[in-house]
């Protein structure tokens, strides 16, 4: 177990190192940040001075090594545009992203698991067919379109919910939270639902497939024969055995949600890291882009790590080796 852990940790570091290199090379193609900062009619000396101020006058390998060195000492660089540490810019916006991702996960689980179990246990029922059709839509409709439609219907036509922004927030341990206020909660609903859509559909289909397979197993009939109620069999014996592929997918989905939040945040003007990323790409603000990608890569790696650790707990037959 310990060897396994160490091996995974070394892999993690290598993956992150590769990410920094790829990202840094990509950066050289995204444009010249100096020209996004100085007025276009600046004298060459002003341009050169700005370049030196940003450390961009050095050759790329030197810049990369300097960046890595800074990284090791905990310095993630300063945003060219905001003149603030890139890490603090991202950390400042991270709670907003985590918040909609969290709500999206809750929505997805609350909708997907019960419906998936139902559709798997009674595949022939009309309600199950409706659910499956719905899930197909959830997978195939593009998120930005759904987001715009939700805004049109619930904000513009019905006036039930606000169209954009974060609304009132309450500081919990210094971190602003929207879901703690009524206004904030109203602002969370549309983006979170939009974000959760494809995850809900995928989890639902995974749950259903797992349930269908489990329903055919002998132990299910045996349990029923033993006198366990139908609901008891489905939820206690069936679901638990159908769950392990769902957990794997769920883990990957959490990573996807953080990454896909980019689109949802842009549509709903949700002030999270995804929107920051899009804006930073447009402004060629390299340090912010690098820190964002590093952070997302770290999260993916960590989530996968946690998922791998969860298997043996869910299914004792699997051993971490």
């Amino acid at each position: 177990m310990l060897a396994y852990l160490i091996r995974r940790l070394v892999q993690t570091v290598l993956v992150l190192l590769a990410v920094t290199l790829i990202v840094f090379l990509m950066m050289s193609f995204t444009g010249d940040p100096v020209f996004m900062l100085v007025p276009i009619d600046s004298q060459p000396e002003v341009v050169a001075a700005a370049r030196a101020r940003l450390g961009l006058d050095q050759p790329l390998p030197v810049q990369y090594l300097r960046f890595l060195g800074n990284l090791l000492s905990g310095d993630f660089g300063v945003s060219y545009v905001f003149r603030q540490p890139a890490l603090s810019l991202i950390l400042e916006r991270l709670p907003a992203t985590l918040e909609i991702v969290f709500v999206a996960i809750v929505v997805a689980l609350l909708v997907a698991i019960p419906l998936g179990v139902h559709a798997g246990a009674r595949p022939q029922a009309a309600s199950s067919r409706t659910v499956m059709t719905g899930s197909l839509l959830g997978i195939s409709l593009p998120g930005f379109w759904v987001g715009m439609m939700l805004i049109l219907v619930f904000a513009v036509q019905l006036r039930w919910l606000p169209s954009s922004g974060r609304g009132d927030t309450v500081d919990v341990f210094g971190v602003p939270i929207s879901i703690a206020t009524r206004d904030g909660l109203a602002h969370v609903i549309l983006p979170a639902v939009t974000l959760s859509l494809s995850t809900t559909a995928i989890l639902l289909r995974m749950t259903r497939a797992g349930m269908q397979e489990v329903m055919r197993q002998d132990f299910m009939r045996f349990a029923r024969a033993k006198g366990v109620s139908r609901q008891g069999v489905i939820w206690r014996h069936g679901l638990r055995n159908a769950l392990s592929p769902v957990v794997t997918i769920f883990g990957l989905q959490v990573g996807d949600l953080i990454a896909f939040a980019t689109i949802t945040e842009t549509i709903f003007s949700w002030p999270g890291i995804g929107k920051l990323l899009i804006d930073s790409i447009a402004r060629a603000d390299r340090p912010v882009i690098v820190v964002y990608l590093m952070l997302v890569a770290t999260m993916f790696v960590l989530i996968n790590f946690v998922v791998d650790m969860l298997y043996p707990i869910l299914d004792p037959r699997i051993r971490a080796t």
Binding site: Q43, R83, G165, I267, A282
Partner: protein, 517 residues
Amino acid sequence: MTRMLPLWRAGMLALGVSALAVGAACAKELTIGMTSDASVVDPQAGEELNSTILFYHIYDPLVRRTADLKFVPGLAESWEIVDPTTWRFKLRPGVKFHNGEDFKASDVVFTFNRLKDTNMAELGANVASVMAVDDHTVEIKTPSPFATLPNKLAEILILSEKNAGAGPDAETASPLGTGPYKLEDWAKEDHITLEAFPEYWGGKPKIDTVTLRPITNPATRTAALLTGELDLVIDLPVRDVDRVKGENGFSVVEVPSLNNMVLALDFRDKSPTIPLETNPLKDQRVRAAMAQAIDIETIRKVIMNGFSTPSDQFVPEGSVGYLPDADFHKMYPYDPEKAKALLAEAGVGDGFEITLDATNNRYVNDAQIAQAMASMLGKVGIKVNLNLMPKSNFWGYIRNPSEKSSFIMSGWNVPSADAGAMYQTLYYSRDNDKGYGQVNRGSYSNPELDKLVDAANATADVAERDRILKDATALLLKDIPMIPLHYEQDIYGVRDGVTFEPRRDKYVWAFEMDVAE
């Protein structure tokens, strides 16, 4: 009974909230939908529209630019020319910074000195030195006579010496100006709240609280206007114009922007993207032919949906050096037959190949305009290859001197309303010790124009400068160093009850606005 308690509490809460709302009803509020968040609050840290809009709420310049490009007293009450390179500005007495401290000449001196080491140093290029004569008089020296100094000063915002002098990032941490609004709250990417500064020298602002909300997605911006979350949106997308007009309680306001779309042409002997021994663009007839091959009216109608104003000259009407009754598109009207004849006359009747560099995310419909022009020029035998790229790559790609470009489409605006500023930057011969021609990407060189610009820069009299620059405008219209296309239209969506006059410079300014009770 216990289950009723939360409901009861919620009821009390609702009562409390509505009581608050009643209390706030007499305070006027305005929420503006911006295209993006401001990136900095320190006016010397960067330049970009959304930050600039924020700057002008918090800070004041010495000279103020009005909505229709007039230049009137700001923090300076009056000014006079002492000798051709020395100006004396009388500062407005009784002006206070937001922290209650008096605004003094030393703040002006400090502001100009601090500017020198920033990315925005170019703004102060026309100022050699600033000296405080007494607490309310400053003397500004220019390196050479500069008749439109006051226009240029409208772009320099005055900081407090005590505040910004505290450290390189002090202004960012706690911005302090003399402007009509104070920065109250800035939740990054969500909202900026500005509170009226009651002791503002221009009078207490009519609107008490202004909220700037960045909404990058244009469709969401429109939706937020229609739901009543916003009172005003900047850059209403063209496709939503009819929708907003058709809705009760909203209207659409438009004004030609200052942004003149221009086509830069290469004047070097050999041009990088033209596979010919000599560069055909050096012949004025070829440049005229290209201008006559472009149907600007069709671009306006079909691509811009009517939201553009064909540019008559290089600078808008009202600018110093604007030539009344001269119109580029009347001098070179759309006429493909004439264009072909001109090309034949110039010895390139078989046409030639050229690459057009343009952005695809910077200007309104930039990529479509480029495509349309490629097909229009194709009809007279000029094969245009398109090289479209996002703006973050574009500026570095076409940077001066541009070794890769022959033909560039970009926008240019002159907020100082002075043709001289544009001509010396874009058309003055390069490689001179004056440092002019910084953005002369096509290496245009015309000794006559250089002479006129020098003459304009030798006088401190604005009327004379205007006269000289009018000659320069006439010369340039004939010589075609660039082809002016059109001014984009700025489009705003406004809720009824909001008093709003659009500004030519697009600097939406709540101090000039009002909302109905």
